[in-house]
Structures are given as C-alpha cells and as structure tokens.
C-alpha cells in the first residue's frame, strides 16, 4: 500500500507564536498534574514494583542484598503449600459470607429506616453508624470478650435459653470463622447503610408513586425499582467491602490470631506469620502479590463494568 503526501489529511502548521502558546499550555497542564503523578509514582508504584521484585528472592529481613534469586519459586510454593491453600479458602469464605450479609443487612436497614419518620430515622441511623467509628483492633477486643464463655455476654444470653453448651464460639474450629464474620458484619454494615441511604435519596419518588397507582406490591417495588436503581451503589459497595474483607487482618489478629487449629487463618495473617514470625520475607511478598492478583481477578471485571457504564 502506497501513501502519498496528497492522501494524508492536511494539518495546519503552527507558527512560532502558536507553537509557544501550545507548549506553554501543555507545560502548564503537565506541571499541574506532576505533583499528583509523583505522589502516585512514589507512594504506590515504587513499593509495588519493589514487592514484586523482592518476591522473586528467598531472603530474610536485614538480608535483602544477600537473598537468593529463585524466580517464581515462591509463587509455585504457594500453590503446593496446604496451609496457604487453606488460608485462601478461609479468606474466600469470610469475604463472600461477610460481604453478602453486610449488603443484605445494610440495604434492608436503609429501606426500613426510610419508612420511619425522618427525625427518628436520623437518630437510628446515627446509632447504627457508631461501630464505624471504632478501630478494627478494638472491635476485635470487644468481641473477644463478648464471646468469652466465662465473662462474655454472648454465652450469658445463650445461657438464658439453655443454649450456652451448644455454641462453640471462638473455642471451636467449626464456629470460629462465623464468629469473626459476625464481628465484621457488626462493624461494617453501617458503611453499607450509609451508601444505600445516599443511593435511596437519589431515586425519584415519582417512580414509587406511579408504581403504587399501578398496583405494585412492596416486594415488586423493591425488585423492580429500588434494587435496579441501587445497582451502582451495590457495585461500589461490593468493590470497596469485598477488597477490604479479602485483606482482613486486624480483626482476626485480635480475636483469634488465626486459630483455633488454623480455622481463621486468613491470607493476610498467613503472610504476616511467614514474613514477621518465620522471617521468610520473599514468600510473604509473594503471598501479598498473589492476594492482589486474586483481588484484581475477582473485582476487576466489576470495576471495569462500572467505569464503562459511568
């Protein structure tokens, strides 16, 4: 295929003052973006590239320059390590269980609060949001005592119904992860409630009025108006809470430390143990990178779809 000068679109050449103007304008834009770009580069990309590079080594803290280059050895090890696979499974169970419950409860409470008088709704919303103000490590300590069979409120209440012996709490591997999920739900449902409340405020009331005139039931209004109109809010909450829950550390650290019998060993706790307890920093870095890759695989498509629609 030949291209001649005549077939190319004609571009109006800039004279020297136009050139200067264009250059000044671009320079101004670049200089305005530069600080933000530098922060992103320094605070996000450098540590990420460093972690990625160091995950290819077998090294200990303080021995960064003496580490052995093992290429993808740490990544292969992860998929052959039964404890790592167990921690991945536990993390997935925790993430899906906690996030689904939080979204259902958060949206449910937001819808219910909309139907109560405004003043009462505001007070209740404020009360429900209080757990959000507590740091996760403190939430862990609070729930650790709530779950304690000797002093805890949970066992006291169950005891009133003769059920205290039926509840394993944090002591038994079969129930510990659900106890951790409950503490997380208590802490973060208010976040979903706030997002859902903001989303509900944006739904035009005409839609509800019209549907009521048309004879739609409350269930139909929920299914065909509220939930579709909250689609974007749900997607955003899913991304924020999902990525957060998948990286859970402090709550589990305070409640169980990963036990009993590794039943609450999340990926972050596992990476921490490998890095800072066993001093296998290369492997810990690889676990952190694998966590990031799984998060991208799980939530990347959702984020892409959200951006596309926006």
């Amino acid at each position: 295929v030949s291209t001649s000068a005549e077939t190319l679109p004609r571009i109006k050449p800039l004279n020297s003052s136009g050139c200067r103007r264009w250059f000044r304008k671009e320079l101004l834009a670049a200089s305005l973006i530069l600080p933000a770009a530098a922060v992103v580069f320094a605070a996000m990309l450098i540590p990420l590239v460093y972690a990625l590079w160091m995950s290819l080594f077998n090294y200990r803290i303080g021995g960064e320059t003496k580490g052995a280059f093992i290429f993808f050895g740490n990544y292969l090890r992860f998929f052959q390590d039964p404890e790592a696979i167990l921690s991945l499974g536990i993390t997935l169970v925790f993430t899906f269980g906690a996030v689904i419950a939080e979204i259902v409860l958060g949206i449910g409470i937001a819808i219910l609060l909309r139907s109560v008088p405004n003043r009462i709704g505001k007070v209740l919303r404020g009360l429900y949001c209080m757990p959000l103000l507590i740091s996760p490590i403190i939430v862990g300590l609070i729930w650790r005592y709530l779950y304690d069979p000797t002093y805890g409120l949970a066992y006291y209440l169950l005891g009133l119904f003769g059920l205290s012996n039926a509840f394993g709490g944090l002591q038994e591997p079969s129930s510990a992860i659900f106890c951790v999920m409950l503490a997380d739900i208590w802490e973060t449902t208010p976040f979903v409630l706030l997002c859902a409340t903001a989303g509900l405020a944006n739904i035009p009331s005409d839609l509800y009025e019209a549907s009521t005139i048309d004879g739609a039931s409350a269930g139909q209004r929920l299914l065909y108006i509220t939930l579709p109109m909250l689609r974007k809010v749900i997607a955003v909450v899913l991304i924020i809470r999902g990525t957060d829950a998948f990286r859970v550390f402090d709550l589990i650290y305070a409640l169980t430390g990963g036990g009993p019998a590794n039943s609450t060993l999340s990926l972050s706790i596992y990476a921490f143990k490998k890095g800072f307890v066993e001093n296998q920093m290369g492997y810990a870095m690889a676990i952190a990178i694998i966590t990031m890759i799984i998060l991208i695989a799980l939530f990347g498509p959702l984020m892409k779809a959200l951006y596309a629609r926006t």
């Binding site: 803290i61 000797t150 169980t256």
Partner: protein, 412 residues
C-alpha cells in the same frame, strides 16, 4: 593584660566545657519494649536515671504482638530510631546474625560506663550464655519469665483436694473441679504460650523436639504421651481455654473464676494485688511433671542496636537498668524476676513475693525454646499442631507426625 588574656582563655574553656556538657545532657535515648504494668513501673524508675545523668529517655512501649516486627523494621532500615531494644531470647540469635546489634564485650569492661553498682559476675552465667552469640555478648539479661501452676487453696481445701504436683494428680484435681463446673484454666490458644507449657511438660517426661544428633524427632513415645496428656488436660479445662493466653488465664485466677490454672511468673503479682479477689489465698508450684519438675525459660535482654546514634549513653542506661539498684527496685514494685543472683536471694524480696520459691524451683531445671535459625518455623507449626490437639481436630500422634513431615528437612 596577661591576666586578662588568661582569664579570657579560662572563661572560653569553661564555656566550651559547659557547651559540651549541655550537649551531653541534651541526648535523648529511645527505648523499645512491650507495654504493660511492668513498662509503666520501669518508666517511673527511669525518671531517676534522667535526674542522675541529665539524659532524656523516651519509651516506645507497644503491644507484644507487634514488638518484633517494629524493632526489625527499624533496625533493618537502619533508621537509628532506637538506642536500646528489649529482645526475647529466641529473637536474639537472628538479630545478631542480621547485624542488627552491637557487641557489648568492650562496654561491660569499661567501668566509666558501667558505674560502681555494676557487677558482671553477679548475672546468672547460664543467662549470659543465652545472650552470647558466636562468642560475642549482645545483650544483658534482665527479666525472666516461666510458666507456673497456680491454685486457690481455699477452693481446693473445701473440695477436699490437695495441691497437685504430678501429671496424674493435676488431671485428677482438674477432673474433679470440671465436674463442678470449672476445671483448670489453660493458655491453650493457638500461640507460643501453649507451646511453652507443652515443652515444659514434655521435658519433664524426658521428651524434646530433637534427638541427640540435633535432628527433629517429634514422634517419640515421650512426645506423643505428652501430647495425649495435653489433650486430656484440655478436656477438663475451663470453657474458653482454647482461646486463652496467659493474661486471660491470670484474669480468671485473679477474679476467682478459676480455682486452678497455668499462668506465667511475670503476671503473678496481679494475683496478690488490691483488685484481686484471691489475694493471700493462692498457692504456687512448678508446672505438673511426669518424672521431674521442668520449666520453660523466657529471658528478656537489653541490647543496643548497631545503628544507635548514642551507643555510649545507651550503654550507660543499659548498665543502670540491669544494675542491682534498679533491678531490686523493680522487683519490689512488681515482683519481676531478674537475672542477678544477689537480688533473687534478697530476703526483703523473698518475704514480699510468695511465688518466688516456686519460680526458683522451676528455674532450677529449666531451658529455653530452641534458638536456631529455623526455630520460629517450628514454633509456628507446633502452635497449630497443639491447637489441633486441644480442639480435637487431630489426634496427638497425627498432629506431631504432620509437623515432623513438614519440617524434618529444615532441621537436618
């Protein structure tokens, strides 16, 4: 005129000396240790050091769980953020091998730095050996802990039970208490406390992690028998024990919920304190034994990071903190057990703290956890294995076999 010049020079020299002194006095040392009542007492005592020397001391006391991580990150990054670090004996070989610590051999010989109160030969020789790596001294021992069995004398005598000593006696007493709704309070949470107790029980039974050649040898008759005993003991423990650490057990003992339990020497002072509901009613003994009493030793050492900006001043503080005066003062305050032989025999201390004889007995036959490079891997695996045994997730022999298979190659 000459007089004036001489006076001027003298004034100049004096001024210089004053400036130099002012600089020495403006030194601020940052020390790293875990937070808690012991740290508060120590912080109070440090005011006296500040007054005596003019050196300011800032204590960075944080949760034990994050201490190693924070110290490691600081020293690996050569931030110079710490001048003195409190180091557990199991971390010390690794810190020394990583070049994080400054050898102290020359400092301890320098009487200008140690002061008069310092007597190096007074330290327990076995503890100095623990702080020595490849022939170099990297720390001075100061705070010793060992698990101790605690029992409520009143409850036991009302139930017609004697204070237990052996495995069987302990099981029988715990079983009897368990049938009445309590049991023995154990630090059986997945963590190092459970491993510390288990290895002491195991060594009292003639077991250990390694064979004579140093290879990992977990599935021996003695080790399996100890793991079975651990399972049986948890079976008659108070509810909650499988998620309890030493501090939870101590609370249950302090407020009278637990009539029998395994706590640690550093927390026992609370049992005789004003808030305790059992003060004066509690008895202490070494851990239950099969053949002979045995203790697990945990020693905290003061060390100087290699990147300290003020190593000489840091050593002055180190020598002061491990000196007889400061150790006795702290022991009198909270019953801490120090590494100085003369202080441990002090009659004033012995009369004040009733558990000291039990601790001395436990320490007379005690050892630390392994301190080799791969020891943290073994501890982590044993924590999970003992938690599996305690919760019935695995049989004792299978749990030990799993650790053996997993780590045999690391301990050849």
């Amino acid at each position: 005129m000459k007089m004036l010049v001489a006076a001027g020079i003298a004034a100049g020299i004096l001024g210089l000396i004053h400036v130099t002194d002012a600089r020495a006095e403006s030194v601020e040392l940052v020390i790293s240790r875990w937070a808690g009542p012991h740290a508060d007492d120590q912080a109070e005592l440090l005011k006296q050091f500040e007054k005596e020397t003019g050196i300011t001391v800032k204590m960075d006391a944080i949760d034990y769980g994050q201490l190693r991580q924070k110290q490691t990150l600081n020293m690996a990054g050569k931030t110079g953020g710490y001048d003195l670090v409190w180091v557990q004996e199991v971390w010390l070989p690794e810190y020394a091998a990583s070049g994080f610590l400054r050898p102290l051999d020359e400092y301890v010989k320098d009487s200008a730095l140690t002061g008069k109160d310092f007597d190096f030969s007074d330290f327990q020789p076995s503890l100095i050996k623990i702080a020595t790596v490849d022939g170099k001294l990297y720390g001075l021992p100061t705070f010793i802990q060992t698990p101790i069995m605690v029992y409520n004398r009143d409850v036991l005598s009302k139930a017609g039970l004697n204070a237990p000593k052996t495995w069987q006696e302990t099981l029988d007493v715990a079983k009897s208490l368990h049938s009445k709704g309590t049991g023995i309070a154990l630090p059986a949470k997945q963590g190092l406390a459970a491993v510390d107790v288990w290895i002491a029980l195991d060594r009292s039974n003639g077991g250990d992690y390694f064979d004579k050649s140093g290879k990992l040898d977990l599935v021996t008759d003695a080790n399996v028998e100890t793991a079975v005993f651990w399972k049986n003991l948890v079976g008659v423990s108070m509810r909650g024990s499988t998620n309890w650490h030493f501090d939870d057990v101590n609370k249950a003992l302090e407020f009278g919920q637990a009539p029998l339990g395994i706590s640690i020497s550093g927390l026992l002072n609370a049992l005789e304190g004003q808030e305790s509901t059992v003060a004066g009613k509690v008895g202490y003994s070494p851990l239950p034994y099969k053949m002979r009493p045995f203790g697990t030793l945990s020693v905290w050492n003061w060390c100087i990071p290699a990147d300290s900006k003020h190593p000489q001043e840091a050593f002055r503080l180190l020598a002061w903190l491990t000196g007889k005066y400061a150790e006795k003062a702290l022991s009198l305050k909270d019953g801490q057990i120090c590494a100085r032989q003369s202080v441990l025999k002090d009659p004033e201390l012995v009369s004040k703290f009733p558990w000291l004889p039990a601790v001395s007995e436990a320490l007379s036959n005690a050892d630390t956890q392994p301190r080799t490079k791969n020891a943290p891997k073994l501890m982590d695996a044993m924590e999970a294995a003992l938690s599996e045994v305690a919760t019935g997730s695995a049989e004792p022999k299978a749990a030990l076999q799993k650790v053996q298979d997993q780590l045999a190659a690391d301990f050849q």
